[in-house]
Symmetry: C2
Subunit: 180 residues, 2 copies
């Protein structure tokens, strides 16, 4: 099995946030996707070890901002490679409070959505939260960042907690006919 | 709510297939995504009205081929806008039988994976099937097609049964500040 085949799946890059009581938190995720159109419903896969996981699980709401292609790596690093336990990720970040109470990140955002969790599924290290979209808007016509662009052009890394993290030892060489 | 915000979510374009007894079927999907890395697990959201849905539900296996950017619209139309009830979608298509028995489409494919369903979640019009990856390979170094490229460059449409279908009447104009 060449696990690198999974690298070819396409994703965007998102800041997923939530709020419980006075606690707001957010993290980078690439697994935000629409699962039904009627009603508009989205899903997100979140690592159980992440602070955002506990906040969504309790509050039953989340927001997701779609990041633009020219989002600085430092911005992604702030939300993707640091824990809200150790730092205030939102310090100096432009955001507004959504209808659900979740903070909607506006910096580097092309569009955003807010959802109320209707279902969840335990998939081992992660939980897939499914939520009905209650608010959404487009705020920029900038090009969206793809996860492939983040890796190939920006030189971005994947943290260990990500759904798409693959240990180097598991990666086989691409077959010769595929690289020639 | 501007539902067009959901158009900004990033996806690839895939042929998802399955087999039950002598019946093979496949369809286009854009919602294939990795949900955990340990073990490698993927999910796919399939409309309950699609023939492929019933085949996966019974056989508990599916395969997904990642389509390349230059996949002809006629090829996507064959798997995406026709039903396996009315035509043999695989006629003239290069595919091989995978470890799970599911047909793995090789034409226009960059990589593929096969999975055995471990969980499923009813999300209304669709079912999210979650499966552990049992086989995967990279077969080309071509650029993958993004769902955005399919729409914007290829002029592709979204069928009504898709998770990401949005009726025209629901689409609000992009705010003026976003287009100026």
């Amino acid at each position: 099995m060449n696990i690198k085949a999974l690298y070819k799946l396409g994703y965007g890059v998102y800041v997923v946030t939530s709020k419980k009581d006075d606690r707001i938190n957010g993290q980078i995720a690439n697994t935000v996707f629409q699962v039904t159109s009627e009603p508009p419903t989205v899903a997100v896969s979140i690592n159980k070890n992440n602070l955002t996981h506990g906040v969504i699980k309790e509050s039953r709401v989340f927001a997701a901002s779609v990041l633009c292609q020219d989002t600085p790596l430092t911005f992604i690093g702030r939300f993707g490679f640091k824990s809200g336990r150790d730092s205030d990720k939102f310090k100096g970040v432009d955001y507004k409070t959504g209808e659900t109470g979740a903070p909607i990140v506006l910096d580097n955002a092309v569009s955003y959505l807010e959802a109320r969790v209707t279902k969840e599924m335990d998939v081992g290290t992660h939980t897939i939260f499914v939520g009905e979209v209650v608010n959404a808007d487009v705020i920029s016509d900038k090009i969206c960042m793809t996860y492939d662009y983040y890796h190939q052009i920006k030189g971005g890394k994947t943290p260990k907690a990500a759904a798409t993290y693959i240990e180097e030892k598991k990666i086989e060489k691409v077959p010769k006919e595929a690289t020639s």
